[in-house]
Symmetry: C2
DNA sequence: TCGATTTTGCAAATTATTTGCAATATTCGC
DNA sequence: GCGAATATTGCAAATAATTTGCAAAATCGA
């Protein structure tokens, strides 16, 4: 399990950052809940009233800069944050318009389709990253809708 | 030319909305500039100091609800807006990280790859819409970088 | 043209996020 | 473990994009 909480402690220490109550607590929430959370939701889940929302934002910003956390924007007005996975450098989501459920997409379709190469050839544009989020109805909601 | 400004006038009239100075001016800017603009940029381009920024926002919100305008979110903090095209119901962009240039992507790779069907089969999730934006270096910037 | 209805300008509110700064926590060498 | 040096935090205030209430102005249909 590469993701013990001590793994993060070592990682932060190695980069010259302190291992603090706020940072540890935020990471605990993120390792516990398997979906992208808003800063506000993370803060509420902390259970430690001493930790301020600003510290949650500061921790998230730091983790993002260290590629420990990925920001997910779903056009909701507030950003969401999830732990970066070890095996893939990014992934995409299926977002249910009815119930709000967020599922991970197994493989990156953009890579699978060789889209980067195709675009480079056709337009000369060198794609380095992309954002892809899919919206619709999850299976349960689809059945309910019938 | 399906996109004379009077086309929009008729469209708004048909939906029971007035043809006003603010709405007409916003549409003129959007038909003139061929890339997604921020509300602020549209407002600045209006050339009519009588029109308030709130009216620009209100016009954009209305146009979006009528599918006359599409909102484009590129993670910049502010949304961008562009005229919806007649022939495709949506399209994607190549955004240059160096110079900020925004190019349209010719065909939708998600549809081309049959991704919707694939996901439905594999996961039961019914995709109804998606957001895809690609970032990297445009051809000129790629050359400069060498 | 006129009254009914819609829209606008303006200022203030909202909301997510960031920041300054003094107080507190963490780190590290002893 | 202890204390100084440094990093981080809480708190309140600042930002920045967008929205909204309301009275005044514009548009529309007859
Ligand atoms: Mn995910
Ligand atoms: Mn476009
Ligand atoms: Zn659902
Ligand atoms: Zn460029």
């Amino acid at each position: 399990m590469r993701h013990g909480i001590t793994h993060f402690k070592d990682l932060l220490g190695g980069e010259g950052y302190s291992w603090t109550r706020a940072r540890s607590a935020v990471l605990t929430v993120l390792t516990t809940v398997p979906r992208p959370l808003r800063a506000e939701e993370i803060h509420r889940a902390l259970r430690d009233p001493r930790i301020n929302l600003s510290s949650v934002y500061r921790a998230l910003r730091l983790f993002e800069s260290l590629n420990v956390v990925h920001r997910v924007e779903l056009g909701e007005g507030a950003a969401r944050y999830e732990l970066a996975d070890d095996y893939r450098d990014h992934h995409h989501h299926l977002v249910c318009d009815a119930c709000g459920r967020i599922e991970d997409v197994a493989a990156c379709p953009v890579e699978a389709a060789g889209l980067t190469r195709h675009i480079r050839k056709r337009t000369g544009f060198a794609v380095r990253s992309h954002v892809l989020e899919l919206f619709g109805l999850c299976r349960p909601c689809r059945r309910d809708a019938r």
